[in-house]
């Protein structure tokens, strides 16, 4: 009896040791690979983020390290955000030339559409990209730059041009065209870009001064 328990105990110990050795080897392998690949992965990830930002910001506008300029923006109704979002500040030499804001169009056909909007110091749009959406494939997904160049029409637009009453899709008497069959999606994007410009105009000073991000409620 005793010897049986002893055997069982020895077996359990043996199994445990074997499992431990395997875990050790696997962990060592992972640690090694991780250490070797980490710098490259970090570089790829930064390059990817930078590539996205550079899609909404012409390279001539900045010579600073965009990624290092990131700061948080408190949630705001004009941005459609409920959580703090990110903002990047473009500089050329010593002067600020543009900002990149994250915004959300809450009224897409199937929920939120996440946007990245570049705005220069004078309030002109330098570029817009959709970073996440769930619009119907083939119908509303042409707002995605990989599907069609539709979103490029915002470049150069501002709150002056077109004036607010024309800041709509063509079907509603505005200046932005939208494809037949799907008007809800482009309406949502057009509206969100417009309100993001409003947000920029109202918080311009706060956004462009060095340190404190605008903490006070947006005046209504």
């Amino acid at each position: 009896m005793i010897s049986l328990i002893k055997t069982a105990g020895r077996n359990a110990l043996r199994t445990g040791v074997i499992l431990f050795v395997f875990a050790l080897v696997a962990t060592a392998l992972l640690a090694l690979t991780f250490g070797r690949t980490q710098p490259t992965i970090e570089r790829s990830q930064q390059a990817e983020k930078l590539a996205l930002l550079s899609q909404v910001l012409p390279p001539a506008l900045y010579d600073n390290d965009l990624l290092a300029s990131q700061r948080a923006v408190p949630p705001d109704e004009l941005l459609g955000t409920r959580q703090p979002s990110a903002m990047w500040i473009a500089r050329r030499g010593d002067s600020i030339t543009a900002v990149v804001l994250e915004a959300i169009a809450p009224d897409g056909y199937s929920g939120n559409i996440a946007l990245l909007i570049g705005i220069d110091i004078d309030g002109n749009v330098t570029g817009v990209r959709v970073t996440a959406h769930r619009e119907t494939p083939g119908l509303g997904d042409y707002i995605d730059r990989t599907k069609s160049p539709w979103i490029e029409q915002f470049v150069g637009k501002s709150r002056m041009e077109p004036e607010p009453k024309h800041w709509k899709v063509a079907k509603d008497g505005g200046r932005f065209d939208a494809r037949a069959g799907a008007t809800i999606t482009p309406r949502a994007v057009v509206k969100a870009v417009g309100t993001a410009l409003d947000y920029f105009a109202r918080n311009r000073t706060a956004l462009l001064t060095e340190k404190p991000a605008p903490n006070q409620e947006t005046p209504r």
């Binding site: 077996n11 043996r14 199994t15 074997i18 499992l19 395997f22 875990a23 696997a26 962990t27 392998l29 992972l30 690979t33 991780f34 690949t37 490259t40 992965i41 790829s44 990830q45 390059a47 990817e48 494939p137 083939g138």
Partner: protein, 225 residues
């Protein structure tokens, strides 16, 4: 060493008789999700094949040291570690492709075909046989993936090899074949239902071909009177 006959059997099983995608229907989740283009399908197929070969080789190499009761945890540990290594390597060196394949690379861990080969074959055979078996199985799966990807890409967007620039850099963009110029696009083929329909057609074709081959064998050997 390995005889030619053994070699043949392993390949026959992997490519046709026991094909993971068409006969065993193992690992369908990535098969259906990723086969939207040839490049995606080929990439995931090769990654899976690489995992299978290294996992089978490793399992076979240590098979005498693994007690029967804990073989599954040990195999899963080996597979998960290898998949993570491949995940890290792809993240570092083919980052754009890594973004496209996304969750399906780590999910190779849970692909039943990998564990199935490790447990059913590699844990009972010598390393060389195991690696060859994994290679044949992986190749069979990759072939199905590529054909499926080709069908869906062609029907869905009228191209082949789109996204090749994700692997070989922007210069490779000119390799994309626009088989049908100015194609309207048939979205169904790219969306999930298209994957099921295309796989169904492939399985049907495979069964049809098998049935025909069997009939021919019967016809060649007439029944004794």
């Amino acid at each position: 060493m390995m005889t030619l006959q053994e070699f043949r059997t392993l390949f026959g099983n992997g490519l046709s008789k026991q094909n993971a995608g068409l006969v065993q229907l193992l690992g369908l989740c990535p098969l259906l999700a990723i086969s939207t283009t040839v490049i995606n399908a080929l990439s995931l197929g090769l990654a899976t094949m690489l995992v299978m070969m290294s996992a089978s080789g490793a399992v076979s190499g240590v098979r005498h040291f693994v007690p029967h009761e804990i073989r599954i945890p040990v195999f899963v540990l080996i597979i998960a570690a290898l998949v993570t290594v491949i995940d890290l390597l792809m993240n570092a060196y083919v980052h754009p492709l890594y973004l496209v394949l996304g969750i399906f690379i780590p999910l190779i861990t849970t692909n039943c075909i990998v564990l199935a080969r490790a447990d059913a074959f590699a844990s009972k055979n010598r390393p060389l046989h195991s690696v060859v078996d994994a290679f044949a199985m992986g190749l069979g799966l990759t072939m199905v993936l590529v054909v499926l990807g080709g069908m869906r890409e062609l029907a869905g967007q009228g191209t082949l090899l789109s996204g090749i620039d994700l692997v070989f850099g922007a210069e490779a963009k000119s390799f994309v074949l626009h088989v049908v110029p100015d194609y309207q696009g048939f979205l169904l083929a790219i969306l999930p239902p298209g994957a099921f329909i295309a796989l169904g057609l492939l399985i049907a074709a495979h069964n049809w071909q098998k049935a025909r081959a069997e009939r021919r064998v019967h016809a060649a050997a007439p029944m004794p009177a």
